[in-house]
Symmetry: C2
Subunit: 548 residues, 2 copies
């Protein structure tokens, strides 16, 4: 019995986790369930998972006929819509890689990304025709530009750009195509981070990671999707696969409602009501728009049950407004492009749900609890794990099957001892709830101690006269760095420096109170709507703090 | 561009799907969540996921010290309890295989299974001490018998049986053990089917299939488990891993309530109430017990929200009683040992949930809808796929990553063209809802046409005087086979052959109405509580049908 025996393998079917299996499942088992899309032309397009699968297969046939090889990158520059969804499945389904590009970046950044990825085709919504004219000359290796349109809607591009209409491309094929079984480790999607420093970096997902993430995203304590839901991803499909909704919806048979480029509060509200949307996910900015619209118009959602809020920290007032004013569960979450993106969600366990409301609220304002598939830890400057006491803060590290090992085109692992450093600084409390206290580079070091810029922004934003707040470090002769607040006042509101600083009294430690306030008309944002702290630091590098 | 390039792999972390990752996740992220177990001694035992993980590690240390090698099979003969759960993780966690044996089988069958599996150790609940005395002499290759007890509770076995107490085994180890990362294709669990014909056959799951199944089982349209749930598996842990609950609960952070050997209605009800159980799963027989108890005692569950019912077809009256009398959602499902076991669940999609109540009910009485991870089809005698029209019936075939490819110790694939034939005969309707019409060997062929024995049983069981009904084929000179009903009357109820046959009028086609009725005191059942049709056919092979 001491001899080594060969490993005993389980005797299960060897079925690879392929992205195509998601749309194939929906087509076969939820064939009549609808996908409703707001088109850039303004009208609503409706069809079913069965039709989506068929057209995705037509696209695969067309791309194969164009000699697109497995592993080749096909870019998209598009809003959330049915053709974009077909592009997801019609590329990955035969082994090509779907490279979703953020059209909100500057043209030179987009061109850099397309060239870095060596994209061979670019599919785009016709609203981006002018952008394509700027990109095409800079992207000589792109073999063709495919407009999400029929021939009649084909935009006029500069004559040298090789242009095809998507519908013409599809027309020639019948969709009689079997999704091949692919090695699940093959690349599925390529998403570049919108790094505020240096060039963007690509996260290259695998079929396996995409499918496992779709399972995780569907769980009751994540999006909780079922075949009775209608889910509206406000988060763009060019931003980390719409947080996995484009995969979780077909997995669970949820109806998909895709809002196109109309993301204002009124358009979203009307689409939600018309299509009995139960669940929607997006960044705080769009929810502000929705909440403002509902308040002004005096309307309430009749079917919406849950909103997922992530991408940047959610103001506590937003959580309260959704729940107390509208009876909509608002779930704060956190993730990153490098993790497909879901990492944590602020859902309570049973014991936590029995605590006094104020304690529950404080937990739910944090970024939340790791879902199965993600592990996390915080480490100190010495690299050692810090305690989960809600006080100690250190850099957040993550790992799991849907976390990247390294960036596209980079030879070096991005990991430290098998964990990915996130660049975020966080605490984790005894309940396992993580709270981002800052980006590591945004922390303010005053007299050798750290001050969280996000904590100070959260206090400022709670002032009724403040529309937006940013906090950055200013050089200080004695303390090395001190916090400076940059504030956008609410329209028609009045607020002085002294009034705002007085508002901090009792809310943070005395030595955390900012040294100065600057009022501006607007704050700089990144292409994904996050505060552009790097630019702010540059803008206020020379700012002279008043004497204490 | 025409040259073949090497495959482009995604750049994600290579994290194998290991069973140990489930308990590790629960220990780290739901460390304080409880596992409550009714012990065979009668008392309740309570501890947390954190303690469970530690003790599972102690067990792994102990087994490794006993020179148990990866791939070796360790048997369990035990009820649902915390030590059984530790055995799940403490064996699979280091690469051994947990072989759950059904203690309700006959001793000779159990011995045959233990020998077929070459189990090296057997862990057992002390209630099975007499059984162990019968088994030990027949299982000479078992190196040791481990009683789930401390030394004081150690049962007296025949002197030659090498016996250890589980607690003594664990005491020597400290749990300072890191779960190794294992190849996810390695075997995890071995479960034998309780075949009614021939010897039992083993399904050998892999770590990968177990974890993927746990994801599927947790989804909102499956068990819908969250960290606010408390789940009580009535289905035994010796029966297909308690339908995956022992894995789905730590994945989602649900509290686990394990009922031991007290499965009567009163005990279950009281445990559910005491431990605020929200969700419970089991076979119709135990639910009959619970419903009877609640009715007699005039009590209602205060926390129970959902019951999952499977293992054999659920009588429609049971679904109605749970929902209409007690407000508990009752979910009918179907699966088999060969598929880990979940295949279908009768959960409606949105459109279906808008239909008239009677139509909804008819759908929900079927076995249900395939969940992602499972595909199914029905095929005719010629092997071709039959339409999904709710009328055509043929053998049900399944496939997916948690379906077996072949049986343990068998060289031949169990598949036909990549699909597993289930031996069940079914229809699938336009909604994708599957209904088992029969086991293929239980169908009755009358005049060249098939009659479903299950349909006839369902009509009979709806008669208020019928406690249990079975329908089998009798030889018939003209029609080849004709249906015979075997009936157990309800206590104190009166019912004649003519009355029962008259009850069929208008409910089934005239030519389906059984030719005869035999009243018996009880029906034969298999070890898992299913009707033993093979034995019934033998019993009534010589039965002479009355003239038409």
């Amino acid at each position: 019995m001491n001899t080594t025996t060969p490993p005993l393998l389980g005797l299960m079917m060897d079925v690879p986790l392929n992205v195509s299996s998601l749309i194939a499942h929906a087509a076969r088992h939820f064939g009549d369930t609808e996908i409703v899309s707001r088109r850039v032309e303004g009208d609503l397009h409706r069809y079913t998972y069965r039709s989506c699968d068929k057209r995705a297969k037509q696209l695969a046939q067309a791309l194969i006929a164009l000699n697109v090889q497995p592993g080749e990158r096909i870019a998209t520059l598009a809003w959330n819509g049915y053709r974009h969804l077909e592009a997801y499945y019609g590329t990955t389904g035969f082994g090509a890689v779907c490279h979703t590009v953020n059209p909100r970046l500057f043209p030179e950044q987009i061109a850099w990304i397309i060239n870095d990825a060596s994209d061979s085709y670019v599919m785009f919504d016709t609203t981006f025709a002018r952008l394509i004219d700027e990109l095409a000359p800079r992207c000589p290796r792109v073999r063709g530009w495919i407009a999400f349109a029929d021939d009649a809607q084909l935009p006029a591009l500069q004559s040298t750009t090789p242009l095809t209409s998507y519908e013409t491309l599809l027309e020639a094929y019948d969709g009689a195509f079997d999704w091949p079984l692919l090695d699940e480790r093959l690349a599925s999607y390529l998403c570049y981070t919108s790094g505020t420093t240096g060039n963007p970096k690509g996260a290259l997902y695998s079929h396996r990671s995409t499918v496992l993430h779709a399972f995780g995203a569907s769980l009751p304590d994540a999006m909780g999707l079922s075949a009775r839901d209608a889910v509206l991803p406000v988060v763009p499909m060019f931003h980390v696969n719409a947080w996995g909704i484009a995969h979780a919806a077909p997995l669970t048979g949820a109806k998909l409602v895709l809002p196109g480029n109309r993301l204002d509060g009124k358009s979203l509200f009307e689409l939600m009501e018309a299509e009995r949307v139960t669940c929607s996910n997006g960044v705080p900015t769009v929810w502000l728009g929705l909440l403002d619209y509902m308040k002004q118009a005096g309307v309430r959602p009749s079917t919406l049950k849950r909103t997922g809020i992530g991408g940047s920290a959610c103001p506590p007032a937003m959580l309260r407004s959704f729940e107390e004013d509208y009876g909509v569960e608002a779930i704060h979450g956190w993730g990153m492009t490098e993790m497909s993106p879901i990492g944590t969600l602020a859902k309570l366990n049973w014991e936590q749900s029995q605590r006094p409301p104020e304690q529950q609220r404080r937990l739910r304002e944090k970024q939340g609890h790791a879902i199965y598939g993600v592990d996390m830890k915080i480490v100190g400057d010495d690299g050692r794990e810090l305690p989960w006491d809600g006080v100690a803060f250190g850099e957040l590290y993550v790992r799991g099957p849907w976390v990247i090992e390294r960036y596209f085109q980079k030879n070096d692992s991005a990991l430290v001892d098998g964990w990915l450093p996130t660049g975020d600084v966080a605490t984790i409390d005894r309940d396992g709830f993580m709270r981002i206290t800052d980006r590591s580079k945004d922390l303010i070091k005053s007299g050798g101690e750290w001050i969280s810029s996000i904590d100070l922004e959260n206090v400022a934003i709670a002032h009724p006269a403040v529309a937006e707040a940013a906090c950055v470090a200013c050089a200080h002769p004695k303390w090395c760095q001190r916090p400076l607040l940059v504030i956008v006042r609410r329209k028609d509101a009045e607020l002085t420096r002294a009034e705002l600083l007085a508002f901090f009294a009792g809310k943070v430690a005395k030595w955390w109170i900012p040294d100065d306030v600057v009022f501006v008309d607007e704050l700089p944002h990144t292409a994904t709507g996050k505060l552009h702290k790097l630019k702010l630091r540059e803008m206020f590098r020379e700012h002279v703090l008043p004497p204490a």
